[in-house]
Amino acid sequence: MKKAAAYIILILLISFQLYNVFAVQRFPKPEFESGYVQPSTLAPNPRAEALAILDVVVLLVTLSVATWMIIKKRSRDGVFWISIFTIAYFGFFREGCICSVGSVQNITYALFNPNYSIPISAILFFAVPIIFTLFFGRTFCAAVCPLGAIQDVFVFRPVALKSWVLKVLGLIPFIYLGLAILYAATATDFVICRYDPFVGFFRLNASFMMFMLGAVLLLLGVFIARPYCRFLCPYGVLLNLASRVSRKHLTITPAKCIQCKLCEDSCPFGAIDKPVQIKEKEESSKAVRRIILLTVIIPLLVLVGGYVGSRFHENLASVNHDVRLAQELLHPDKTQPESFEVTAFKSAGKSVEEFYKETASIVDMFYIGGWILGGFIGLIFGLTLTSLSIFKYQEDYTPNKGTCLSCARCIDFCPVKPEL
């Protein structure tokens, strides 16, 4: 420092015009005599914007081709090759970002934070698969989602789970979706992206925990087909709901079902609804009473859920960056060195009072969010219980419109040829 200072003074004595520069910088830029040319500062440009539109185009094309393969061409091979393309393009080439699963959070975040300028590609990645699903079922899940596709190639020895297990585990994605929306709305975190298990493989770069989570899910996927899609994926929840009202869904048989039972175990996901005989119907008075009871307790479940959620809001809120910082500021841990967060906060010169007020309002948001999240979970539990009490008569083997991933495996098992 001192040596440099001495040099600076030398320059000072030589030239006097540098005075203005002093106000800005401690050490003025020297005037070189040797004809030195200053290199330019490296600032490489980001990926061109046009490529984001290309992503959307690729999405549209793959989704259309996949839908055509599934609904019209009825080709499992075609779906498989599209999966491979998806893994290559959306997976390894685009490194898993942007994906539709995560776009749920972008939409939520944009709705609650007016300052966030959401890219068009994010809106389209969210909307396009849902619109396709509304008409053709979950063709997106079948082959276009890189997360689904990478699990799909690991389906070797699928074990048929009991259908009640599927029903119970099928509730987890709803809770996950609720949490993801709550955290995105409060600008806390994008949990779906944070716990995306496969993006690490696509990037060939992951933290240890992420790598292990992905590896476990993939290995599990050898036996329990597509565990993430069925028991975790929050976007799958939306597609599940949309698919239920789809106009033209994949069918196992191209014509009339002949009840040959060949397709019965063909679905690795347990998404084929089997025929239900009338004789299985239970005593009608008992069933009706249960349905009435369940209908009555739905509002109650919503209330209980909401109450629990509201009690739990502080635990939910303590994930928030600001809330954690405020707690640390209030109760500093004397045994630990000051955390970077506290240092940064202090150096930012923000008023403590203001900050505490802001955090109080964040906690308040979580209180309301806790009510809504709890109520939502209560509602889902109630509706599921009700739907499990309804007797649905069914004659043929049909894919369950909600849970069917439109992978087209069952098609190969059907001996019926299409009517010409």
Partner: protein, 622 residues
């Protein structure tokens, strides 16, 4: 051709073999990668404690070439390991991917070739009613567990976060309230009652009058008087008392003027000529001694201990040591400081009732004249990359602290007898290392501070900013000098400015020829003396900036010059005191060697000079 291909595809044995090989290969790579993963965290070159420790050691013995070689070798090893590891993981990842790819293909082919015909079971396996019933049961159980777990967690960690934060928000802004609650009328009578009983009656009433005329708005007057009341009840010395001692860094009011007489002009540390006593100071510190009566005070600190020492001024006997420990809010870890600032750069201040000291960690304490602690507190750790070095100063029962920290820079005053904060004024400045000075401009007392970008003046009683002028930049180290209505500010790589003080300050002249980054200037009514750290002393005309003389010395200066009896006492880094007349021409009076390096500013008493050397405290007198 097609037939041959088909044969290959359907050769299950072949594919099984491929699958086994690929599986084993992938497994091995997986294990290797995981092993590497754990290793990469161990040899993180960013936080190699070993090398850092070795470098520290090297600093202590700079000639240890073996150690130097060792560091270089270790550094190379660490970096090699780091990058090799990254290379291994990256390439291992590719290899693993390849293996898994082959494995998947093989397994897919096996599956294709060994496809079994679906078995048709005669009885329907899953009964709808059973499924529904079990699902209902488990959903209820799952929901119940969820509710119970959530509630248990919620009640275990219940902390009323929202109201806690709201209360904290209110608690963090208490000042306005306290002031408004005090009734106005009562204060005024209080002020009237207390004032006459105190020293300097005339002066302080004058100040009040001046303030009243300057600040016509009722509210400001009120708040000022509230503060006045607090101040006036304190016990504090008169100006004459302060002048007859040497209570602050750079003397009375911190302005570099000593009012003592019969100051010696020659001594020699080597021969002991005129050295009355010499005593070792236990802990190091770059603060300067201060004097009250027969006592002389210095502070010292290292990373673990902060102490204040009181010596008998006549005998050099250590009278007491006060330890600054067990202070609430004091940080556990000491802040990082640079070697040439240290943990105890700020000089002590005393008002004859108590001694006040501040250390690099922000600990402030008051000790009575017998060494008993009166109060101690920590007002925050100064965020300062060299180390806090602004000295304290007292003003009528207040201890004024210049706290130009990176975060929340401010100046505040503590009640000298209780340590309670009396006022605090935020400052929009960068970190500085300068010390405050107190100035009587004829009409009022002002507290003047300097830091990038401005010189600012405050009412020392209330903390209200009186004026400010932007004229300086950089890491301001030198304090201000004031004489006859003009204040002088300078800093290295910035400029020297002479500012006529007043509500609308005015820059009289400026210069950027000779600047200082450590020693402060000193001024008389006619002349300004600038001392640079690289060894130049310059005399300017205080009013127009004419350069009267420039004198180069062999060694640089860190110590600040003091004017006593019309002479400037200026000590260089080698401990040689240069004494010359504070006049238009350079007339040397004497040159005296201490025989020890020193960067501290000397303290003066009648017939005596006290100098803190690197390790010892010296008393010099005839």
């Amino acid at each position: 051709m097609n037939q041959a291909l088909k044969k290959y595809i359907e050769n299950v044995r072949l594919w099984r073999g491929v699958a086994i090989v690929a599986g084993v290969y992938s497994f091995i790579f997986c294990i290797l990668i995981i092993a590497n993963f754990t290793q990469i965290n161990r040899v993180d070159p960013v936080n190699t404690k070993v090398i850092n420790a070795l470098v520290e050691r090297l600093k202590e013995n700079p000639n240890d070439n073996q150690l130097r070689e060792e560091i270089r070798e270790l550094d190379l090893l660490a970096r090699k390991a780091y990058f090799t590891n990254q290379w291994q993981i990256r390439n291992g990842g590719y290899m693993l991917m390849l293996g898994v790819l082959v494995l998947i293909i093989a397994l897919q082919f096996i599956r294709l070739a060994t496809k079994e015909l679906p078995v048709v079971s005669t009885e329907s396996s899953d009964k709808l009613l059973y499924t529904q019933k079990t699902a209902r049961l488990w959903i209820s159980i799952g929901g119940g567990i969820l509710v119970i777990v959530a509630l248990i967690f919620a009640f275990l960690t219940q902390s009323q976060l929202k109201s806690t934060f709201q209360n904290a928000a209110i608690a963090s802004n208490p000042e306005d309230k306290g002031k408004q609650e005090v009734p106005v009328v009562q204060e005024k009578t209080e002020v009237a009652k207390t004032e006459p009983s105190k020293v300097e009656v005339v002066k302080s009433t004058e100040v009040v009058k001046a303030e009243n005329s300057v600040n016509p708005t009722q509210k400001e007057v009120q708040t000022q008087q509230v503060v006045k009341q607090v101040v006036a009840t304190g016990d504090f010395p008169s100006d004459n008392e302060l002048k007859s001692n040497f209570p602050n860094f750079r003397g009375y009011a911190g302005n570099g003027i000593a009012y003592q007489k019969n100051i010696p002009t020659s001594w020699d540390g080597a021969t002991g000529q005129n050295i009355l006593w010499k005593v070792a100071i236990p802990l190091p510190g770059y603060n300067s001694p201060v004097i009250w009566g027969d006592k002389i005070f210095v502070a010292g600190a290292n990373a673990t201990k902060c102490e204040v020492y009181c010596f008998d001024r006549n005998s050099g006997k250590l009278l007491w040591t006060a330890n600054a420990d067990n202070i609430t809010d004091s940080p556990v870890t000491e802040p990082k400081v640079q070697g040439d600032t240290g943990y105890s750069a700020p000089t002590i201040s005393t008002d004859g009732r108590r001694v006040y000291a501040i250390f690099a960690n922000g600990d402030i304490l008051a000790i009575d004249m017998n060494g008993n602690r009166v109060w101690a507190k920590n007002m925050g750790v100064p965020q300062n990359h060299y180390g806090h070095s602004s000295s304290l100063i007292t003003y009528k029962g207040l201890v004024i602290v210049e706290f130009d920290s990176r975060t929340n820079p401010r100046v505040f005053a503590l009640n000298s007898s209780t340590g309670d904060e009396v006022w605090s004024t935020p400052r929009k400045v960068k970190i500085s290392w300068s010390s405050p000075i107190l100035v009587n401009t004829g009409s009022r007392n002002e507290l003047m501070l300097v830091a990038e970008p401005s010189v600012a003046s405050y009412d020392p009683a209330t903390g209200k900013q009186l004026w400010s002028i932007d004229c300086i930049s950089g890491e301001v180290g030198p304090s201000l000098a004031y004489a006859d209505g003009v204040v002088f500010a300078l800093n290295e790589y910035a400029s020297l400015s002479a500012i006529k003080v007043g509500d609308t300050p005015e820059k009289l002249w400026e210069s950027s020829d000779y600047l200082s980054d450590v020693p402060s200037p000193v001024a008389t009514d006619k002349y300004l003396f600038v001392v640079t750290s690289y060894g130049t002393v310059v005399c300017y005309d205080a009013k127009n900036g004419t350069n009267y003389w420039t004198k180069e010395f062999a060694d640089g200066f860190y110590s600040s010059p003091i004017i006593a009896e019309g002479r400037i006492y200026l000590m260089d880094k080698q401990g040689v005191m240069h004494i010359f007349n504070a006049d238009k021409t350079f007339t040397p009076v004497g040159e005296a060697k201490l025989g020890e390096k020193s960067v501290c500013t000397p303290a003066f008493a009648n017939g005596r000079i006290y100098i803190r050397g690197d390790k010892n405290l010296y008393c010099i007198g005839k």
